[in-house]
Symmetry: C2
Subunit: 334 residues, 2 copies
């Protein structure tokens, strides 16, 4: 019954910020602890029972220590424990269980040992601003069609068809922007992201890390985004899906904005997260009518046209109304 000697608990943080209308994850690209060619890694820290009173305190502690960034909003995402999620397990390493956290931070001063990468570099099919991304029809859907056909049994066939249909919106209401994880998992299972290839090789050769040639299948996987270390892209997908969901019923956008902002800035941040264009007038109506913001009387004169008024988040809404999100609709146009 004891599992103590062969298990390791890590805390992983998906740290998200939005700068210049693009949501970015904080990653380390030169982690010495991970094999070369395995892609950028999310920052992590060990959970040390003797030092840390709670998981969240532990996470906040080392994130602030490592990045120097003040973390506002933190939320536990998911706990990942699949076998071989860390390939070193194959070489006798311990089973690594990672508790994933989502952290939202306000701005993006260049962090010490890491860098910010566009979240849509990892999940390119998720950005629908400016229309449905080309890869979906040119590559993903046909490839998934093959994957569906390749099912061994009739049951499996219809399961796959149903999953693809839900996640990639084949029917009616179409694209559900929150199903980020479901989509990534399908692509992984269908072997369409580079991680699938990498993990397959590593497991086949029964040797830990290092065996994946980062150049194999470059062309093949170029369309489905940048690979990340271990299962970190899965964590990113989980995080993005969670943020998108939260957006609809909690005012989390404001965690990512500076103290004062224009309504257009607010809209751009919301759009960048949701991955869709929003109707400007309706967006403003929603935000203003719901009294999510207060005018400051000051104006922003950076941009070309008529200066926009600067607003501030009205924290009191939290107390007054249970579900004040910045309503992200099913689809929309600017």
């Amino acid at each position: 019954m004891s599992n103590s000697s062969d298990t390791l608990i890590l805390l992983n943080a998906v740290i998200l910020a939005v700068t210049a209308e693009v949501p970015r994850f904080l990653v380390t690209t030169h982690g010495d602890h991970l094999p070369e060619g395995s892609g950028p890694a999310l920052p992590y820290g060990p959970f040390e029972p003797s030092h840390h009173r709670t998981l969240e305190i532990a996470l906040r502690g080392w994130v602030e220590e490592q990045t120097g960034l003040p973390i506002g909003y933190v939320e536990q995402l998911y706990t990942f424990g699949d076998r071989y999620r860390d390939p070193r397990e194959l070489a006798g390493g311990p089973r690594v269980v990672s508790v994933g956290y989502l952290a939202l931070i306000r701005e993006a001063p260049p962090p010490g040992d890491a860098e910010w990468l566009d979240c849509y570099d990892f999940l390119p099919w998720e950005d629908w601003r400016g229309g449905r991304p080309g890869i979906i029809d040119s590559f993903i859907i046909p490839a998934l069609e093959e994957w569906i056909q390749a099912a061994q049994t009739e049951t499996e066939n219809s399961i796959r068809r149903e999953r693809v249909s839900i996640a990639f919106g084949a029917v009616e209401a179409g694209w559900d922007s929150t199903l980020v994880l479901e989509r990534y998992e399908i692509l992984y299972e269908a072997g369409l992201v580079e991680e699938a290839d990498r993990d397959h090789h590593v497991r086949a050769t029964e040797k830990p890390g290092g065996t994946h040639d980062p150049n194999s299948g470059q062309g093949q996987f170029a369309a489905t985004g940048m690979m990340a270390a271990l299962d970190h892209r899965r964590m990113m997908a989980t995080a993005l899906g969670r943020v998108r969901g939260k957006l609809q019923y909690r005012p989390v956008v404001f965690e990512l904005l500076p103290d004062k902002f224009t309504l257009l800035q607010l809209q751009r941040v919301a759009e960048s997260l949701a991955g869709i264009d929003l109707h400007k007038q309706n967006f403003r109506r929603l935000v203003v009518n719901n009294r999510l913001v207060v005018a400051t009387g000051k104006f922003d004169r950076q941009s070309a046209g008529r200066p926009a008024e600067l607003f501030r988040f009205r924290r009191d809404v939290l107390r007054e109304r249970p579900a004040p999100g910045v309503g992200i609709p099913t689809r929309s146009a600017s």
Copy 2:
């Protein structure tokens, strides 16, 4: 950096079923592994890295083994890792990290070594069917008012006021039925549930378990429900909150219903989970218009009045529409 020798990973399941219009948790009341007088415990199993490929598989495995119940819907809830959440830690025991899962099962045949207890025995203030529960105004609100006043600083005072205001709906839109965990945590921090008392005693005496006299403060805590082992009531609160949230945008109710059911049965189950009465006609309109169910042509003649038609869940909705919940409104009357 290694935490392997002093940490233990457990898997806990909050298994939920609805029988006779009451939602019930599966608990063991005579666990030999826990001290006497600490209340009913949720079933759990160890996570054994060498045997279990994934956390979820591990959980499904031993739940079906221990209870013999076929589990349909399973979802990871939260990972709990606070220091001293298992009092045996005080006596040199390992830090216990528990990954909590929510499982929904279809019926409630009497399980082997455990029993079903009404979830509102643990969280009595959450059941608003038939109106706002008396304890809220007669006991909880006044006690929380005292707790707010007792804050040491002005900042803490307003934080407490805000938290209570949001969770217990002092203003406007009122009660948000999904904030189950937030409410429990406030009650715990305010010392209004028996666990707070128990944990305080245990930690003060620096001895593990057994020291809490189950009769101390019986009267004091009678109003705030039944105590559970360790932090299991927190897990229950997490689970109930999650189900209530899911209910609104995913058709999870059907996991708890038999294959065929009447619309009133469906409504009763939804009501029992949401903890509120729903408007019958509107509920039916919603369910029927959204084509969540299909008529079977058969009728139920068990009850007194006009026989109700038996319906079946139309699984295809999952594929067709992204968010087909059985809409639980903010408030309503039958």
